[in-house]
């Protein structure tokens, strides 16, 4: 599956991560924490020095023109190692979108910023009344032909890392009176622009990884519209397909699986045949989800048309991640519900925090139910 060159890349990548992460690193990456954020910036800089932030991008935009498999290895390894600095929004969402639809100006400016490790992007899609029904968004973007600017007003929610980000890609309704998917534009924003207010929202695990972003007459040049004005819907959907591979979940799931297996081996729990069976069932689902994820990324690389694989792989990857964490939660028993304050069990603590956090996996980037609608209607030709 991976070439010698790919495996060598993985080895070097692991060495780079080792330089930044303590050997006993047990924490799930959480860039809302200051120490993780600082670590994230350092790791990104190190990756950037080797041009590894986006190894499959063209050389002119800071990549190495390598095969997309090295990008897969990068994402999977960073997730497995739980390393901060795994740039989902920049490298895997807006970056490929700009490579496909961006102007020369946008590519030059934004892609290089990403590969230098200077950018943190966030995603402005969902709104208080527009979640799964994304085409119903209300955030307005008023276009002024004279100044060639767009003035944006509205509210976005569930915006992960908005408080850390310096850039946002935002979906706005630029055509007055337009309905549903018509008249929408995908716009690139500077988060330091005047009129942007960020309100943190605490999630189920107690962290504030996502936010409400209020935009009050934020002015942006129309040169920051991706694709044509009023015609951003298909681009916005395509961007979601870049997000949906689920590759991060595969890395996290595999890490949890391996840690749990070691935990059981050390305590001779595998003498219980039921546990062996459970591990075998989970392993088979993990491997099949991983292969589907690779296929989703491969197919995206091969063709521009919309395929079902990203929806399938997103469902499989998020579900197996949850199943493995559920099994860990069950095995750890009271250790996962009572936190020992003096003698910390980092593994147990991580499991419960992650299990709660991963509720989001089946929701963000299009819920599992939306993915199933896509498969049924677009893939299997069932009526809307």
């Amino acid at each position: 599956m991976f070439s010698k060159d790919d495996l060598l890349f993985k080895k070097k990548l692991d060495s780079l991560i080792n330089k930044h992460l303590p050997e006993d690193w047990q924490e799930y990456p959480d860039e809302t924490l200051d120490n993780h954020w600082e670590l994230s910036k350092k790791i990104k800089k190190s990756l950037s020095e080797k041009k590894w932030i986006a190894p499959s991008w063209p050389i002119e935009y800071g990549g190495l023109d390598k095969s997309f498999t090295q990008s897969i290895i990068l994402s999977e390894t960073m997730s497995y190692r739980m390393a901060p600095g795994n740039d989902r929004f920049g490298v895997r969402m807006i970056g490929p979108t700009l490579l496909k639809y961006g102007t020369d100006f946008q590519k030059e400016k934004y892609l290089n910023e990403i590969t230098k490790g200077d950018a943190q992007w966030c995603q402005g899609y969902s709104e208080p009344n527009s979640g799964s029904d994304l085409a119903s968004i209300n955030t307005k973007g008023k276009y002024d032909e004279e100044t060639n600017t767009i003035t944006i007003t509205g509210t976005k929610v569930w915006t992960t890392l908005a408080h850390r980000a310096n850039r946002m890609f935002i979906l706005v309704r630029t055509q007055e009176g337009s309905k549903k998917h018509e008249g929408l534009s995908l716009v690139l924003l500077d988060m330091n622009d005047k009129g942007i207010m960020i309100n943190p929202i605490r999630n189920i695990s107690g962290k504030s990884s996502f936010n409400e972003v209020v935009l009050d007459n934020v002015k942006v040049s129309a040169s920051n519209v991706v694709g044509k004005l009023h015609q951003g819907w298909m681009i916005a959907l395509d961007l979601l397909n870049f997000e949906r591979s689920g590759i991060d979940y595969i890395g996290w799931a595999e890490r949890c699986f391996d840690d749990l297996l070691n935990y059981c081996k050390k305590r001779n729990l595998l003498e219980n045949n039921l546990y062996k069976v459970k591990f075998a069932l989970l392993k088979s689902s993990l491997e099949s989800a991983k292969i589907m994820t690779y296929k989703a990324l491969w197919i995206k690389e091969q063709s521009n048309s919309i395929h079902m694989e990203p929806s399938i792989s997103k469902i499989l990857a998020t579900e197996i991640n949850i199943k493995i964490h559920d099994f860990a939660f069950e095995l750890l028993n009271t250790k996962s519900i009572y936190i020992n304050n003096n003698n910390k069990d980092y593994f147990a603590e991580r499991i419960i925090k992650n299990r709660l956090f991963f509720v989001s996996g089946g929701i963000l980037g299009g819920t599992t139910e939306i993915q199933k609608n896509i498969i049924a209607q677009r893939g299997l030709g069932l009526p809307k």
Binding site: S67, L281, K372, G379
Partner: protein, 363 residues
């Protein structure tokens, strides 16, 4: 990383589908399941297309195609509910002889590749019930084989049986002409396939019956078992794809509450689940079929069988639920595909066996 199907593979798939789809007749297949007929197809069609020897190397008169190609072919084989010793003849026969004893068996390899000789085996059964293996013993300077074989498919069609026997020095793979066996029991599978329990008495084993040596015997046995396991999974995937197509067709046409039932979200989500299950199992199986030289092949094969057993049986049960009462009937024929999946699910072991094996390889 490459998930593509090349032009020659597409050609194999299409030629097979064109040839076989006309043969699928649920009425006749139902009759067979009721033992009212012996309707079966697949082997002659493969022979006409020249695919019986698809795994045979070119110097033995075959196509020299890959195991991945073979598995793609088996998906269509399973889709069309074909019956014949294609897996046994190709895996326990051609592929195994080619790999472990090609010089000695070069004539037989060529004969198996054009159906002059046909080989069967019950490797999946023997592998999990090793205590019941026939035994080889020396009696008065003669080396004799005695014992029974359970659940042997395609006995009547086959001229040879490949099997494992135990001797003092360990296990040994042997090939025995079918004529030397006597029938102990005649059984019929859920869909009317004929299965036999056989007995062999004082068969005089000579050098010409032995495959490989005692030393590489375990490799040969594992080779046959794991390749057969993956092959059965590919066949199962084909049957599941047929179930999905039938179900899609049904929900797109069946009306209730003055609307097509395929427009209801719960129905759509069930079909998506079927599609997801088939895709995830198929991609892992196809991947494994390309990894035959990898040290992980055995473990991968077990994982394939687990995912196939787990996810594909769900596909058939969901299909029955979506069909409502019509899918519960004998005449509609959906039960034939479900039963084929259940048969394959119960061959070669169970989750307990597979998980123990996985941990054995893990160690």
């Amino acid at each position: 990383m490459d998930f593509s199907i090349n032009e020659s593979q597409k050609m194999i798939i299409k030629s097979l589908q064109d040839k076989l789809e006309k043969k699928v007749d649920f009425k006749l297949l139902n009759n067979k399941a009721e033992k009212k007929s012996h309707y079966k197809y697949g082997w002659n069609e493969l022979l006409e297309l020249g695919y019986i020897g698809m795994l045979t190397e070119e110097n033995y008169g075959g196509y020299g195609l890959s195991f991945f190609d073979f598995c793609l072919m088996l998906e269509k084989w399973g889709y069309n509910l074909c019956e014949g010793p294609v897996i046994e003849n190709s895996i326990s026969g051609i592929l195994t002889l080619q790999k472990f004893d090609s010089e000695k068996f070069q004539t037989l390899i060529a004969q198996l590749s054009n159906s002059e000789e046909i080989l069967t085996s019950n490797i999946l059964e023997q592998y999990i019930h090793k205590k019941d293996l026939p035994s080889i013993s020396k009696i008065k300077e003669k080396t004799l084989l005695n014992g029974t074989l359970s659940n042997v498919p395609f006995y009547k069609e086959s001229s040879n049986i490949m099997m494992i026997a135990k001797s003092k020095s360990g296990e040994q793979v042997v090939i025995i002409p079918s004529d030397y066996f006597e029938i102990l029991e005649h059984k019929t599978s859920l869909i009317g396939e004929e299965i036999y329990d056989l007995k062999i008495r004082d068969f005089h084993i000579s050098e010409k019956n032995l495959i490989g040596t005692n030393k590489n015997c375990n490799n040969i046995i594992d080779f046959m078992y794991y390749h057969t396991l993956i092959s059965k999974c590919s066949e199962t995937i084909g049957a599941a794809e047929h179930i999905l197509d039938i179900t899609l067709n049904y929900v797109k046409n069946r009306e209730q509450f003055n609307t097509k039932i395929g427009s209801f979200q719960s129905v759509q989500h069930n079909l998506s689940d079927m599609y997801i299950n088939i895709n995830e199992a198929r991609e892992l199986i196809r991947f494994a079929s390309k990894e035959i030289y990898s040290e992980k092949f055995k473990k991968l094969s077990l994982l394939c069988k687990i995912i196939c057993d787990e996810k594909i049986s769900q596909v058939s049960w969901t299909a029955h639920q979506l069909h409502g009462a019509i899918g519960f009937t004998w005449d509609y024929g959906l039960h034939l595909l479900t039963k084929k999946i259940l048969i394959n699910k119960n061959l070669g072991g169970n989750i307990n066996f597979y998980s123990n094996k996985i941990f054995q390889y893990e160690a």
